[in-house]
């Protein structure tokens, strides 16, 4: 499978009449996008607002972040199987990307599990989405719509708008084209016999009750572990439907731009042999945890891997999935490195992870979510501050009179998301 990613560098975005790109300036029509969203009867109001890096802007409550892309050649569309898109295999051909932009869905769904993106100040340092030109869709549900139905509506609204915006890149000449190839497993194994064969186990949040991820439209709690080409992620085969603690949320954008996949590709054929991605879930029943971790270990062995990197989304009981995957993969004689984040409490004295096994002797930390910071007031607000004190990371007294917010960094979108994509790390002294 070969996928060419054609990056069109977007330097600025503005609202206007015609949807177009002119010398790096993206123009979008807010009325047109809002009208498209309001075709869904579950949504009462939709407004488009822009936020740019360095501006004094606070965006909250943020649900998901997506990157506008369009499939130019090859089968399928981006985000296959969701938001009325046909289910068709993706990951081959050519995909154009409006690099530098992001679409954000904003507005209360469950409130406590949405988060903050600040475009400047200390808060901006903690989220990857303070560096993107953000097209924010501020949504409100129709009265009487159940939360789970509205979550679906908001998710689909975001995906639809992201696709409409991505479409503008179809006939453009990209500023750069990067080629990603994924060969059949026997070819890969034969190509670099002297290099360690490495796989990536991507654990998808699937606890249910609005903690869900979708794979080609399938609710990930219903999958058994399976093998994916890394290029399928780049075409949006994996979509976030999550309301989890914001800091370790993996928004759709980070699945499209998975930092571990990027890094594994960059070292492929040089330091290691990147053999592919195993996706698995994080379910809430022990039988599921056993079945899925068995499946991960089996696939790793069938692929002939020497080592795997395992990432995680969320914390608490998913730490057990992480450890079960680690223990069972190691039992096959395959080395593991775990990528996670930590929650040691405000005083740092609690256990960082809920579970641990002795085989987990190589762990990369993406930071700890309990760190308290104070984010200065912002001149402009996109969304509402109503839920700040009940959001995970916030507490009574978090929202100060002057508009500043004192809270744990758990409240910031993707501050510690355990596939990387942020700046935090831990070192041993």
């Amino acid at each position: 499978m070969k996928l060419e990613i054609g990056n069109i560098f977007i330097k600025d975005v503005q609202l206007g009449q015609e949807t177009m790109i002119n010398e790096g300036l993206l123009t979008i029509n807010p009325e047109l996008l809002a009208a498209k969203i309001l075709e869904d009867e579950r949504i009462k109001s939709a407004r488009v607002e822009l936020a740019k890096p360095g501006e004094s802007v606070r965006i909250t409550p943020v649900k998901d972040v997506m990157e506008p892309r369009v499939k130019v050649f090859g089968k399928g569309t981006v985000f296959p199987g969701v938001a009325a898109n046909k289910v068709e295999q993706v990951g081959e051909g050519r995909t154009h990307v409006l690099k530098g932009t992001a679409v954000m869905t904003v507005g209360k769904i469950v409130g406590f599990q949405e988060g903050i993106v600040d475009m400047s100040g200390i808060g901006a340092e903690y989220t990857p989405f303070s560096k993107t030109l953000n097209i924010c869709l501020v949504l409100e549900p129709m009265e009487g719509v159940e939360t789970h139905a509205y979550e679906t509506a908001a998710r689909e609204a975001g995906l639809k708008v992201t696709q409409i915006i991505g479409e503008v890149g179809r006939n453009m000449t990209p500023d750069e084209v990067i080629s990603y190839e994924h060969h059949p497993i026997p070819h890969l194994a034969a190509a670099y016999p002297h290099l360690p064969k490495i796989g990536y186990v991507c654990m998808l949040q699937s606890q249910g009750l609005l903690h869900d991820t979708y794979v080609y439209g399938v609710d990930a709690k219903k999958i058994i572990p399976t093998l994916m080409s890394p290029t399928e992620f780049m075409d949006g085969a994996v979509v976030s439907g999550n309301c989890v603690a914001s800091c370790d949320k993996i928004p759709t954008y980070l699945h499209q731009n998975d930092p571990l996949i990027e890094d594994l590709y960059s070292k492929h054929g040089k330091e290691l042999n990147f053999m592919g991605v195993i996706i698995t879930n994080e379910n809430v029943f022990m039988a599921d945890k056993e079945r899925s971790s068995d499946g991960v270990a089996k696939l790793a062995k069938m692929m002939g891997l020497d080592g795997v990197i395992i990432s995680e989304e969320g914390y608490g009981n998913p730490d057990t999935d992480l450890m079960m995957n680690c223990r069972k993969v190691e039992a096959q004689g395959i080395k593991t490195v775990l990528v996670t984040d930590e929650f040691p409490g405000k005083d740092g004295k609690s256990e960082s992870l809920t579970d641990a096994v002795k085989e987990a002797d190589a762990v990369v930390s993406c930071g700890q979510g309990n760190l308290v910071i104070t984010m200065p007031p912002m001149e402009r607000l996109i969304g509402t501050l109503e839920d700040i004190e009940t959001m995970i990371g916030g507490y009574e007294g978090s929202l100060k009179k002057d508009g500043s917010i004192e809270a744990e960094i758990q409240i910031i979108i993707s501050a510690t998301s355990a596939i990387g994509g942020n700046k935090l790390a831990a070192r041993m002294y």
Partner: protein, 81 residues
Amino acid sequence: MVKEIERAGIPVVHIATVVPIALTVGANRIVPAIGIPYPLGDPSLGDEGEKNIRRDLVERALKALGTPIKGQTVFDDAYEF
């Protein structure tokens, strides 16, 4: 809590949804519960079915409490009292 109560000399049965965590934190007598969303029930079984689940779990837990053990023990369906 399990460990502190046992430290005071009172045996504890931990009815746990995620058994590996109970093992990691050091519970000695563990009875597996149904699952995280409904530890002691199953809404699909109706009131009577849920009552039966609870009775079974409580009886299993009480039996476990009176069972001498040599180390951490999981009193699951396969355990023979």
